[in-house]
């Protein structure tokens, strides 16, 4: 047995691809487009998923809201001590935040208050932000904004500051002292961070109130217990655990998943249409050629090998081309058009970058959904023809 691969046969296959050039160019384009769509969709969703995972891990263990008539209302800071006294509670952090509606752009900003711009956070903020000057931030008691907001404010001719309209109609001018880097995270995109005092001022909140409490727990398995104790102490509260949040985030994601599934279905459907078209017949020229090959001494195996090389070369070149194009499109160009379908987390139209996230599994999924199917679709009809009597096929 010769184990050396038959280069004459391989050459013949490549030559055959070019001989049937116009047909194969068409197949190449359609096939490349489909693989491109499929892999772009998978790359984008991978990217978002890895982003989401990071977000989920950063969620607070327990969030406590105060309810009145089913609506969340502000939480008095006086409740802090009783909660801290519960066994297993490490820390209770009052949060002051809200949504600021920016009418000019028709968008909501999430405004989040932090205690102070303390020195210990200097490195962290420096890492997270572009164009950032910590000392200036402290002096101004200014704000850090997400890149989406930065873009939007620029579009509305705000440079270096923004005028918030307070509930009484007067203006609060806050300086912009840093912009979160575009690749930080999906949800930092429409976030504004500023000192708690400023947030209270903008939203007209009392100094002895927070919006909600976030609780840190020593042992995660204690979370349900602690949650129950909190509702016993303060029956007017709603306690949201990390688990609850995870589920609602994932629902959000699944909803997005549904949309891209639709896209996915459309592209596979088109793909199978082409496959079907190819499978339902071999052109009369090709049929005759198979007959000739058989008549001059090619076995069915030889013919199928030749067809295999042909199909493999076309589909593999398509596959690699499409993969390169789609990596460029998703990770370099940030998936214009397609991205809009996926990103609805934010009320802003976000300008964040899709973080690079690529694993072998995705690569394998794309490969096995396309290349072998195409090869099979090419080989099966040829095999049917090749199994007939040569005489019959050549007629």
């Amino acid at each position: 047995m010769k184990s050396k691969i038959n280069l004459f046969l391989f050459d013949f296959s490549v030559l055959s691809i070019f001989r049937r050039g116009s047909k194969n160019i068409f197949i190449f384009f359609v096939f490349t487009l489909l693989i491109f769509l499929l892999s772009s969709v998978l790359f984008i969703s991978n990217s978002i998923k890895s982003e989401l995972d990071t977000t989920l891990n950063a969620l607070p263990d327990i969030t406590v809201q105060r309810l009145q008539a089913g609506r969340a209302i502000n939480m008095p800071l006086s409740r802090l001590n009783k909660l801290l006294a519960i066994d297993g509670v490490n820390a209770v952090i009052p949060r002051v935040w809200g949504y600021y509606y920016f009418a000019n752009a028709g968008a909501n900003f999430s405004v989040v208050g932090i205690d102070q711009f303390e020195d210990q956070y200097r490195d962290l903020y420096t890492k997270l932000c572009d164009k950032f000057n910590f000392d200036k931030l402290k002096k101004d008691s200014g704000m850090l904004i997400g890149s989406g907001i930065d873009q939007m404010l620029k579009n509305n001719f705000y440079q270096g500051y923004f005028n918030f309209v307070k509930p009484d109609g007067s203006l609060a001018k806050v300086k912009i002292d840093g912009v979160f880097k575009a690749d930080t995270a999906l949800e930092s995109n429409d976030v504004i961070v500023m000192p708690i005092k400023k947030v209270r001022e903008i939203f007209g909140m009392k100094p002895d109130e927070a919006v909600d409490f976030v609780i840190k727990v020593a042992n995660p398995s204690e979370i349900p217990n602690i949650a129950r104790k909190i509702t016993e102490i303060y029956p007017d509260t709603r306690v949201i655990t990390k688990e609850d949040l995870k589920i609602s985030y994932q629902n959000l994601f699944d909803y997005k998943g549904g949309l891209f599934l639709a896209l996915f279905v459309i592209s596979t459907f088109t793909f199978f249409m082409i496959i079907y078209d190819k499978a339902s017949g071999v052109s009369s020229d090709e049929k005759r050629e198979i007959g000739i090959l058989k008549a001059v001494g090619w076995t069915i195996d030889d013919i199928l090998k030749e067809k295999f090389y042909e199909a493999f070369v076309i589909s593999f070149v398509s596959f690699i081309t499409a993969l390169c194009l789609s990596m460029f499109y998703v990770y370099f160009l940030n998936a214009p058009l397609l991205r809009n379908i996926f990103i609805g987390y934010s009320n802003l139209k976000p300008a964040f970058d899709l973080p690079f996230s690529f694993d072998f599994q995705t690569f394998a999924i794309i490969f096995f959904l396309t290349v072998p199917i195409y090869i099979a679709a090419t080989i099966i009809p040829s095999w049917r023809v090749a199994s007939m009597d040569a005489d019959e096929v050549m007629r």
Partner: protein, 222 residues
Amino acid sequence: MIELKNVTKEFKVGAKDKVVALKDINLHVQKGEIVLLKGPSGSGKSTILSLIAALNKPTIGEVIVDGKRVSKLADNFTSLFRRENIGFIFQRYNLIPSLSAKENVIVPLIPSNPDSNWLEDRLQELFQNFSLESKMEVMVKNLSGGEQQRVAIARALVNNPSIIIADEPTANLDKKLSLEFIEILKKLKNGHNSIIIASHDPLFFDLDFIDRQIDIHNGEIL
């Protein structure tokens, strides 16, 4: 030696009807013999050639070549049998029009992955013999009828077959080219090759290098 034993061949036509192309035929062709099958169109000549080349199987009876029952071989083995023993010059040549003359001649050798030096020599030899050197790289569909036939002959001979078969070789040629073909044929007779020609062209009827003429009529040997 080629042997057809009590061969009957029927073709299905449509759902129910059938055509009887050969009726209980017996035929022997010796090694080195040149045989002419003659008879009107539709008499069954091409069918006999197909059976000998195992391109088709008899309905009844058997075909034996050099002691091998080729009519009983599985499909892949009939291909191997042709590759090793048969050089078939088809009536319509059956070349691949989008390949060059040279590529067409190589085709039968491709599955056996030949040595490239040997192949180059073999091609030079064949193309010289048939005065086709200048046409090697020309696509077959751009060649004249006579040139196409010479390419088809070169392809049939590239494997050094022991059985050469030509079906109506002069049907598409003018008088001059037909006589040229007969010259080529004469040179192929060497005592080892069996040559079987099917034709109703009178040009073949009184050639002294043809050993035997067999008349076929309505699927029967007269």
